[in-house]
C-alpha cells in the first residue's frame, strides 16, 4: 500500500512518513502543492494525505486538480482550522475524510486503514483471535469455548478490536466508533469500558489479548 503525503511542515511530514512506514506502509513525502499534484497525478498511490495549507498550490487546488483528472484515490485532508466550512468544503471537493491538527497519530492510522479498506469490506460472520471467538450474527462471544456475557456496547467494542487486530486504537477513535461520541473529552469512559471488557475476556485467560499503549491507546493482539 503506497501513501502520498503532501505536508509542508517539516517535522510533521517527516514523522508522518516515519510513522506510516513503521506501520507497514510505503510513504512518499512531498512538501508543496505543485509536487503534490504531480505525484498525485502519477497514479501510483493508493491514498493521499493532504495538508490544506500549502505554499504555492493549496490543498483544495491539488484536490480539485486530481479529481478533475479523474484520479479517485481516497483523500484524507489535514486542517489546522476546525471550521465547519472547511470540513464541508473539503468533503464537497471530493475528499473522503479529514483530521484537525493537532491529532493523535493512532487516529490518523485508524482513518487511513478505514479508507484503504473501504472498497473491500467483507461481511465476516466469525471473528477470532487465539481462543477468543465472536459470532457477529448471533451476537455471541466465547473464550476457550466458554460463553461470555457482554452488553451491547461491550460487544461492539470487542468487535472493533477483533476487526482491527494489531492496530493501535486511540481512545477518541474508540469513543467515536462504539458510542458515536465524536469529540475529544478528557473523561476516562473508554478506559473504564476497556477495564470491564478485560475483566470478562482477559482476566481469567491467557494469553492476554488487550494491551494498553500508554498515551496512545489500545491494541488487540497476541504478544
Amino acid at each position: 500500500m503506497k501513501i502520498l503525503i503532501v505536508e509542508d511542515e517539516a517535522k510533521t511530514g517527516d514523522y508522518l512518513k516515519q510513522g506510516l512506514a513503521e506501520a507497514g506502509f510505503t510513504a512518499d513525502l512531498v512538501r508543496n502543492g505543485v509536487d503534490g499534484m504531480h505525484e498525485g497525478l502519477s497514479g501510483e498511490h493508493d491514498l493521499l494525505i493532504l495538508d490544506v495549507n500549502l505554499p504555492g498550490l493549496d490543498g483544495w487546488q491539488v484536490l480539485k486538480a486530481l479529481r478533475a483528472a479523474g484520479r479517485d484515490l481516497p483523500v484524507l485532508f489535514l486542517t489546522a482550522r476546525d471550521q465547519v466550512e472547511d470540513r464541508v468544503k473539503g468533503l464537497e471537493l471530493g475528499a473522503d475524510d479529514y483530521l484537525v491538527k493537532p491529532f493523535a497519530f493512532s487516529e490518523l492510522l485508524a482513518r487511513v486503514r478505514t479508507l484503504l479498506r473501504r472498497d473491500r469490506i467483507r461481511e465476516v460472520r466469525m471473528l477470532a483471535l487465539a481462543d477468543l471467538e465472536l459470532d457477529v450474527l448471533k451476537r455471541r462471544a466465547t473464550r476457550a469455548g466458554k460463553r461470555i456475557d457482554l452488553t451491547a456496547k461491550e460487544f461492539a467494542l470487542l468487535e472493533l478490536f477483533l476487526r482491527r487486530q494489531g492496530e493501535v486504537l486511540s481512545r477518541s477513535f474508540i469513543a467515536s466508533q462504539v458510542w458515536d461520541m465524536n469529540f475529544d473529552s478528557d473523561t476516562n469512559v473508554v478506559e473504564v469500558a476497556i477495564r470491564r471488557l478485560r475483566a470478562k475476556i482477559d482476566e481469567d485467560f491467557a494469553p492476554k489479548l488487550i494491551h494498553t499503549l500508554r498515551g496512545m491507546g489500545y491494541v488487540m493482539d497476541i504478544r
Binding site: 461520541m181 465524536n182 478528557d186
Partner: protein, 451 residues
C-alpha cells in the same frame, strides 16, 4: 482645525453675519425709503404752501406790479426757493431776482399741482405749478420750485453712513459670532481632550457628564458607554490571556520538570518510554485545552455557528447516558421525558449536555442519584441535569459558567466544561442556568424547539 471649509465655528459665524447683514440692509432700505418719502412730503407741503401764498396775493392785489412787489416782500429771507409768475404778456415775477429763475417757466410747461422732480442748470428741484386768479384780468401761471439739494445730500450721507455702519456691524457680528461659537464649542474641545487622555491602560477614565450642555450629553454618554464596553471586553481579553498563560504554564512546567529530571542520568528504554507516554498525555491535555479555549474565544465573538440538523433530544441524551453511564455504575442514572425535536449541531449539543452530565457524575457520591430529563416548558425544550451531590454555595453558582472557575477549588478537569456548555447553548439561541439546594443541584439547558 484641519479644514476651515468644514469648521462649525466659521460656518456658524458666517451664517450669523450674513443674517445680520440681510436684516440690517432690509431695515436700511426701508428707512431710506421712508426718509425719502418724508422729505418729499415736506417739500410738497412747502411748495403747495407757496402756491397758496401766490394765489392769496393774486386775489388781493389789483395789478401785476403790485403782485410782484407783494410777493417780493413775502419771500424775503427764503433761500432755495424759486417762484416764477407769468401772465399773457410775459414774466410778472421772478424770485430770486438774480435771474437764476429765468428758465423756470420754459422748463416746467407740463407740470401741475403734483410735485415733480426736475433738474435745472445742474441742480435738483421739486416743482409745482398752477394757475392763479387775478383781480385785474386773465389768470396767470405760477411755478414754485424748491432746491432739494439739502435733502438729497442728507439722504446720500445717510446712505453712506448706513453702509459703513452695516459693514462694521457685519464684521462685528462675525467676530462676536466666532467668539460665541468657539465658546459654544468649548465642551467639544474638552471632550476631545478627555478622549485624548484615554489609552488602553486607562480605559477606566470617563468624560465628566456633569457640565456638558444638553446637546452634547447624548454624545458624551454614548461615548462613555462605548468606553465601558471597550473596558469590559479589554478586561475580558486580558483576563483571558492571563488565565490562558496560567493554565498552560502549569502543565508545561510539569512536562519540563519531568523531562529534565529524566535526562539527568541514563535510564533504560522502558523508563524513556514511560516518560514519552506521560508527556504524550500532557500534550493531549494541552491541545485539548487550546482547542477548548479557541472554541470559547470564537463563541465570544459569535463565530461558533452550529451545523444544524433535526435532533431528537431523548435520543441524544440516551446516547450520552450510554456513554457516560459507564462512569456512574455505582450511581442511579436515569433518563426520562419526551423525545422533543430541536434543530441543532449534534456534536456540539452532545458535548454541552455531556459536560453537564460528567460534572453531575463527578460531584455525586456513590450512593447518590443523577437524573437527565427532557421536557417542554413555555414553548421551549428543557434539558435538566440533576444530581444529589453536595450543595454548591450561591457565591460559586454565580460564576460557575465562567471559564477556569472550578466550584470545588483545585478540582479535576480543565475548568472549561461549563463555559463551553454555555457557549454552545448560547450559539444555539438557548440558555443555561444552575441552581442548588441541599438535596438537589440542577443544571437546566433551554433550547428552542424545532418548528
Amino acid at each position: 482645525m484641519a479644514s476651515w471649509r468644514h469648521s462649525i465655528t466659521l460656518r456658524l459665524s458666517l451664517a450669523f453675519a450674513l443674517l445680520a447683514t440681510l436684516v440690517f440692509a432690509a431695515l436700511g432700505v426701508y428707512l431710506g425709503r421712508s426718509a425719502d418719502a418724508h422729505m418729499a412730503e415736506l417739500d410738497a407741503h412747502e411748495l403747495l404752501g407757496k402756491l397758496v401764498l401766490v394765489r392769496n396775493v393774486g386775489a388781493r392785489e389789483n395789478s401785476p406790479e403790485a403782485l410782484a412787489a407783494r410777493l417780493g416782500d413775502a419771500l424775503v429771507g427764503e433761500h432755495g426757493v424759486m417762484v416764477a409768475v407769468d401772465g399773457e404778456k410775459g414774466a410778472i415775477f421772478r424770485w430770486p431776482a438774480d435771474g437764476s429763475a429765468a428758465r423756470l417757466t420754459s422748463a416746467t410747461g407740463s407740470v401741475g399741482e403734483t410735485p415733480v422732480r426736475l433738474a435745472l442748470d445742474g441742480r435738483d428741484f421739486r416743482v409745482v405749478a398752477g394757475s392763479v386768479h387775478t383781480t385785474w384780468g386773465a389768470p396767470v401761471r405760477a411755478v414754485v420750485a424748491r432746491d432739494i439739494r439739502h435733502h438729497t445730500d442728507f439722504l446720500d450721507e445717510l446712505q453712506r453712513d448706513f453702509w459703513l455702519a452695516l459693514a462694521a456691524a457685519a464684521l462685528l457680528t462675525m467676530v462676536v459670532g466666532i467668539a460665541v461659537a468657539r465658546r459654544g464649542m468649548q465642551p467639544v474641545r474638552e471632550i476631545a481632550t478627555a478622549a485624548g487622555r484615554i489609552s488602553a491602560g486607562q480605559l477606566a477614565e470617563r468624560i465628566p457628564e456633569a457640565n456638558v450642555p444638553p446637546e452634547l450629553a447624548e454624545l458624551v454618554s454614548a461615548f462613555n458607554a462605548m468606553l465601558g464596553r471597550l473596558e469590559e471586553s479589554f478586561q475580558r481579553l486580558s483576563d483571558f490571556s492571563a488565565d490562558l498563560a496560567h493554565e498552560l504554564r502549569t502543565p508545561l512546567h510539569a512536562l519540563r520538570m519531568q523531562t529534565e529530571v529524566s535526562l539527568i542520568k541514563p535510564r533504560d528504554s522502558d523508563e524513556y518510554r514511560d516518560l514519552l507516554a506521560s508527556n504524550l498525555e500532557e500534550y493531549e491535555r494541552l491541545s485539548r485545552m487550546i482547542a477548548d479555549m479557541l472554541l470559547l474565544a470564537k463563541a465570544e465573538h459569535g463565530l461558533v455557528i452550529p451545523h444544524r440538523e433535526t435532533l431528537g433530544l431523548t435520543d441524544l441524551c440516551r446516547q450520552l447516558v450510554d456513554y457516560y453511564g459507564i462512569l456512574a455504575e455505582h450511581l442511579q442514572l436515569g433518563l426520562d421525558g419526551e423525545n422533543l425535536a430541536i434543530r441543532g449541531d449534534r456534536l456540539m449539543l452532545q458535548r454541552a449536555i455531556g459536560n453537564l452530565l460528567v460534572n453531575a457524575i463527578h460531584h455525586t457520591p456513590p450512593t447518590g442519584r443523577v437524573t437527565l430529563a427532557v421536557r417542554r416548558r413555555d414553548g421551549m425544550a428543557e434539558i435538566v441535569v440533576g444530581n444529589s451531590g453536595p450543595q454548591i454555595p450561591a457565591e460559586a453558582l454565580r460564576t460557575i459558567f465562567e471559564r477556569f472557575v472550578r466550584a470545588d477549588q483545585g478540582g479535576e478537569g480543565s475548568g472549561l466544561g461549563l463555559a463551553i456548555a454555555r457557549s454552545i447553548v448560547v450559539a444555539h439561541g438557548g440558555g443555561i442556568a444552575a441552581s442548588s439546594s441541599g438535596q438537589l443541584t440542577k443544571f437546566v439547558i433551554t433550547l428552542p424547539l424545532a418548528d
